[in-house]
Every structure is written in structure tokens, then in C-alpha cells.
């Protein structure tokens, strides 16, 4: 029997005794009215009442303590979010409440463990998914080609910086909006739509498309691929726009180059073949004419060789296999050698060559043959693009402050349009407006730039005005 039950029974017995005693005492007092008996009975009744109160107090105090402990344990569990069993410390009378409570708690604990495990699993999966998403976004953002991803409702899902710049929208504002209102280029919108609506899982197409960027027409290769959901349906489109303007320009330059080079090679070859045939056919009747023909064949062979050498030099410098034989040389000395060679070319066109060579003796450390070639290219260009009667001025000077030797070749020729100036040193590049003024391979200035800048750490520059003339100059560090 539990304390509570015992206490309860004792309380009932005491109350019953108390009530019975009170009844008898009252009855006896009414009948006898005897004093001592009445006093004794009152004492007994008082003791009984005190005992009753004590028993009640002990009983409720025990219950209260057990309840407090349970409540404390439950609070602790709430605070720590750790479910455990409720301990009653022998308060057996609460067992019929505590046992089912503990069963419930055990069940909840199991359930919570399972939920926690599930949550951990979900968190891990979510982290992986989030990391993968960041990874994919980082890849897409790092691509220099413009990338646009749309869903099956043609709404923008993702676009990288290159796409924002190219198409002029702000992704954060354009997200989930129909591409119709985001992309102004009608053709691109149509292509994305078509790919989405006609798309199959293997559907991938590449379209060449021209778009204006900052007012300049540029050519793009647009690769459109379908994004396919696990059920096989097309769930969106990925469009990648690659700027192929430069590639196309280079391809065109190469075509022009091959064409120009073959033309340039065929020209001296034509002379050689023609003069040899003339000799074979006995068309040169006297010894003097025959000698003239031999000289032409010889000089044209040299020209052919120079041309091939030029092409080889530039490709060797570009591929980095060239070795410069650096030695102390004077630019003025090299210029004099060049002018000796170029004089006949100039006088044939009635072009005056003015020399303004520095009187100060200074030297640079450079490869003589390369610098000679660079100066020769500048001087012969100046002569080529200057009309008869013009002047080509060659200057050398030294900038004492910057310790640089400067060489300048100025002409009164065709000049270069402002648009072409940034490209004149590009390999194969030829100024369209001047193509008819003189022939060329588009290699001469490219070689000058390579020799001065790549090989000798100097720099080249040009100032020009169309119709008035050009001034090319280069500078190299002076030897201390």
C-alpha cells in the first residue's frame, strides 16, 4: 500500500473518529453537562483535529514535492530539448501518472531522434545542393562567353555578367521575367523560343548572328541547348553567345596574308622566269642586254629571298625561338646604311630624303641586323606611301633625361585614317584606303614592332594625318 493510500486511509479514519467523537461529546454534553468529562473529550477532539491537519500536511507536502520535481525535470527537458525519463524518488502514488508519461516521453524521444537524423540528412543534402548550385553559378559566371538560362515558360533563370553586359540588363531585376521584356534582340528571343518549343533532349544548334555592341557590329556564335527534365520533357534552354568577331577578322587576315604573300612571291618569280626564258629564246641580242638580264634575275632572286626571310623572321620572333645577337651599335650608323640602300628606291620616285642625325655619339645594345631591318621597313614604307616629289625625313636623337635613343621616320605621304592607326602594327593588317597606293604583305610594321618591343624592350609609336603624312618613331634605352 502506498504512502498516499495509507495517509488517505488514516485521514479518513481520523476524520471518522473525529466526527464520531464530536457527535458523542455533543450528545453527552447536552445530556449530562458534566464539566471534567467535557474537558477531556475536547482535549481528545483537539488532538484528533491537530493529528488530522498534520497528516494532511505531510500528505500534500509529499505530493507537492514530487510534483515540483517532475515539473523541474520537464522544464529541464524543455530547456535542453533533451527528453529523458521522469524520476519520482519513491513517490509511488504518482506512478500511475508518471509511467504513461515516461512511455510517452520514450516514444517522443525515439521520434525526435528519428526527426533529428532526418533533419541532419536533409541539411547535408541541402548543403551539397547549395554547394553544387554555387559551383555551377561560379562556373557560369567565370565564363567569358555570355550565358543565358531560361525555363520552359521562356523566363530568365540565370545569366552571367558577360550576358548582362552584352544584352544590357540587370539579372537581379530580370529574374523570372519573360525574355521578351528582358532581351531587346528579337532574333535571340526567337531562337530561344524555337529551341524550347521544338526542342528534343538531343537538340543542340549553333547559329551565327550579328549584333551591335556599343555601336559596333559584332558576330556571335550562339549555341542553343535544351535542358531536359528527368521525365524527358524540355524544361528550359541554355544559350551561350561567343563573340567570334576577332576570330573572323583573323581568319580574314590570314586569307589576305596568304593571298598577299603568294602575290608577293609570284612577282619576283615572274621576272626570274620571264628573263630566263628570254635568254633561252635568244631575245637578248647583245652581251650588254644579256648582262642586264642576269643582273635582274640575280636581284629578283635576292628580293624573293628577302621576302621569305621577312616572313620567317616574324614567325620566329612570334614563336619566341629567335636569339638576338646584342652588341653596342649606333642607331645613326644603322640609319646611314639603310639610307644608302634605300636611295635608289627614293630617287626612282623623285622623293627627297632629309637626314637629321644626332651629332652626339651614343650607343645602344641591340641586334644590328634586326634594327637594320626595322629601320629599313620604316624608310621603305615611307617611300612607298609618299607620292613623287615628296620628302622623307629621318631623324635620330637622344633623350638625355630618359636615357633613350630615338629614331623617327616622317613622310609627306598618304597618311593613315584615325580608325586604322591602332591596328597598323597588327600582323597582316593593311590600311584599306592605302591598299592601292602600294603593295604590301602587312608584315613590315608588325616586324618593326616585334623587333623593337618584344626583342629589345623599346617602344614604337605613330602619329599620322590622312593626306598629310605619317611619323613613325621608336626608342631604345641608351647604353651607359
Amino acid at each position: 500500500m502506498t504512502i498516499a493510500k495509507r495517509l488517505g486511509l488514516a485521514t479518513i479514519v481520523l476524520i471518522a473518529l473525529g466526527v464520531t467523537s464530536a457527535y458523542y461529546v455533543t450528545m453527552m454534553a447536552l445530556q449530562t453537562r458534566s464539566g471534567p468529562v467535557t474537558s477531556f473529550v475536547f482535549i481528545v477532539l483537539g488532538l484528533l483535529a491537530v493529528a488530522t491537519v498534520l497528516v494532511m500536511f505531510v500528505f500534500w507536502h509529499g505530493i507537492g514535492r514530487a510534483m515540483n520535481r517532475i515539473s523541474g525535470q520537464l522544464h529541464h527537458m524543455t530547456r535542453t530539448r533533451q527528453l529523458g525519463l521522469v524520476m519520482t524518488d519513491g513517490a509511488q502514488e504518482l506512478q500511475h501518472v508518471v509511467r504513461p508519461l515516461n512511455e510517452l516521453l520514450t516514444m517522443l524521444n525515439g521520434e525526435m531522434d528519428r526527426l533529428r537524423a532526418d533533419r541532419r540528412e536533409l541539411e547535408i543534402q541541402s548543403r551539397i545542393a547549395s554547394a553544387e548550385k554555387h559551383h555551377v553559378e561560379a562556373i557560369i559566371y567565370s565564363i567569358s562567353d555570355a550565358v543565358i538560362v531560361t525555363n520552359r515558360f521562356d523566363e530568365l533563370l540565370l545569366a552571367n555578367e558577360a550576358a548582362e553586359k552584352l544584352l544590357g540588363f540587370d539579372t537581379s531585376a530580370a529574374l523570372r521575367k519573360n525574355i521578351d521584356g528582358v532581351i531587346s534582340d528579337g532574333t535571340l528571343v526567337r531562337l530561344i523560343r524555337e529551341t524550347c518549343s521544338h526542342g528534343r533532349s538531343s537538340h543542340r544548334r549553333v547559329v551565327e548572328h550579328s549584333m551591335d555592341r556599343k555601336g559596333q557590329p559584332r558576330t556571335y556564335n550562339i549555341t542553343l541547348s535544351c535542358v531536359v527534365a528527368p521525365n524527358g520533357e524540355v524544361s528550359g534552354v541554355v544559350a551561350v553567345l561567343r563573340d567570334i568577331t576577332r576570330e573572323k577578322e583573323i581568319a580574314q587576315m590570314k586569307t589576305d596574308f596568304v593571298s598577299n604573300v603568294s602575290h608577293e612571291l609570284k612577282t619576283p618569280l615572274s621576272s626570274i622566269k620571264a628573263y630566263i626564258e628570254m635568254l633561252v629564246d635568244g631575245e637578248a641580242e647583245d652581251e650588254q642586254t644579256r648582262q642586264e638580264f642576269y643582273d635582274i634575275i640575280s636581284s629578283e632572286t635576292d628580293r624573293l629571298n628577302r621576302l621569305i626571310q621577312n616572313i620567317l623572321n616574324i614567325s620566329r620572333i612570334e614563336s619566341g625561338v629567335v636569339t638576338a645577337h646584342r652588341e653596342p651599335i649606333s642607331i645613326s650608323g644603322v640609319v646611314k646604311q639603310v639610307l644608302d640602300v634605300a636611295a635608289p628606291q627614293a630617287s626612282a620616285k623623285d622623293i627627297k630624303i632629309a637626314q637629321q642625325l644626332s651629332p652626339v655619339y651614343y650607343q645602344i645594345e641591340a641586334d644590328h641586323d634586326m634594327i637594320y631591318q626595322a629601320v629599313l621597313n620604316l624608310v621603305s614604307n615611307a617611300i612607298k606611301y609618299t607620292p613623287p616629289g615628296g620628302t622623307v625625313t629621318v631623324k635620330t636623337a637622344v633623350d638625355e633625361v630618359r636615357r633613350m635613343a630615338v629614331c623617327e621616320v616622317a613622310d609627306t605621304g598618304a597618311g593613315i585614317p584615325a580608325n586604322d592607326i591602332p591596328h597598323v602594327f597588327d600582323k597582316f593588317y593593311r590600311v584599306s584606303a592605302n591598299k592601292k597606293v602600294a603593295k604590301g604583305t602587312g608584315l613590315g610594321l608588325a616586324l618593326v614592332k616585334q623587333v623593337i618591343e618584344s626583342v629589345h624592350d623599346g617602344n614604337v609609336s605613330v602619329v599620322s594625318e590622312q593626306g598629310k603624312g605619317s611619323r613613325f618613331s621608336f626608342e631604345l634605352p641608351v647604353l651607359n
Binding site: 602575290h263 621576272s271 620571264a274 628573263y275 626564258e277 628570254m278 602600294a438 603593295k439
Partner: protein
């Protein structure tokens, strides 16, 4: 009276060798070093045959020929084109310039002379020339 042939090329050596070959064969030769010179000459005179380089300064061979074809007296003058380019010859330009014979550089002066003789003998039509 010998026939007059206008030879145009910006390469002095080619001009020299062609002139000598034709002069040795008894033709009268006049030379030009660019397309504009050709047009200027033909505006005042009428050569019996034209030998033009395809790529020349100021006006190319085909551009010069096209200009000549606009002149009444130059409409039917046979023309030989010397070309040093292979794949980028503009066929339409060649067609409208009415070029009778095309000789690729490096060419043989002997073959050039034969073509000149054939054309001046009267076979001005391209097909006839090629059939020979």
C-alpha cells in the same frame, strides 16, 4: 603599220621584259604603271590590244578595263590579264571587263606572245582563243 599594244604593270621588270618580247616581234608597245595611266592613255588613243596586270595601284586591271569598256572606241579591244593571285580573282569583274585571255604569273613571255598573235589575228572571242 604595226599594231599598238598597251602593257600595264607596276613591276618595272615585267614591263621591260614584256615590252622587249613584243617589240622584238614587231609590235609597237606603250607602257603604263598603274590603272589610271591606262585610262588616261586610252581616253586619247586606241591601242589594238591591252595587256593588264590584275593588281595595280590606283585602279586594278579589272577596274581599269571596266572603265575602258564604257568608252565607245575601247569596247571591242581584246584584253589579256596577267594575274598573280589564285583563289581571290573576282570572276564577275573579269566577266564585265571582257577579258579575252587570262595568264597566271609566273607566265611565259613566249605564251604571252602567242596569245597576242592569236588575238590580233582576229579570234577576239574568249571561247575561240581557248579552243586554239
Amino acid at each position: 603599220m604595226s599594231e599598238k599594244i598597251l602593257v600595264a604593270d607596276d613591276e618595272a621588270h615585267i614591263l621591260h621584259v614584256v615590252s622587249m618580247k613584243l617589240a622584238n616581234a614587231g609590235y609597237e608597245v606603250v607602257t603604263a604603271m598603274d590603272g589610271e595611266e591606262v585610262v588616261e592613255f586610252c581616253a586619247a588613243d586606241r591601242p589594238d590590244l591591252l595587256i593588264l596586270d590584275y593588281q595595280m595601284p590606283l585602279l586594278s586591271g579589272t577596274e581599269a578595263a571596266a572603265r575602258l569598256r564604257e568608252m565607245d572606241h575601247m569596247k571591242d579591244v581584246p584584253a589579256i590579264m596577267l594575274t598573280a593571285r589564285g583563289f581571290d580573282i573576282d570572276r564577275e569583274d573579269m566577266e564585265s571587263a571582257r577579258i579575252s585571255v587570262e595568264l597566271a604569273k609566273p607566265f611565259s613571255p613566249r605564251e604571252l606572245l602567242e596569245a597576242v598573235q592569236r588575238l590580233l589575228a582576229g579570234c577576239t572571242h574568249k571561247a575561240d582563243v581557248e579552243a586554239l
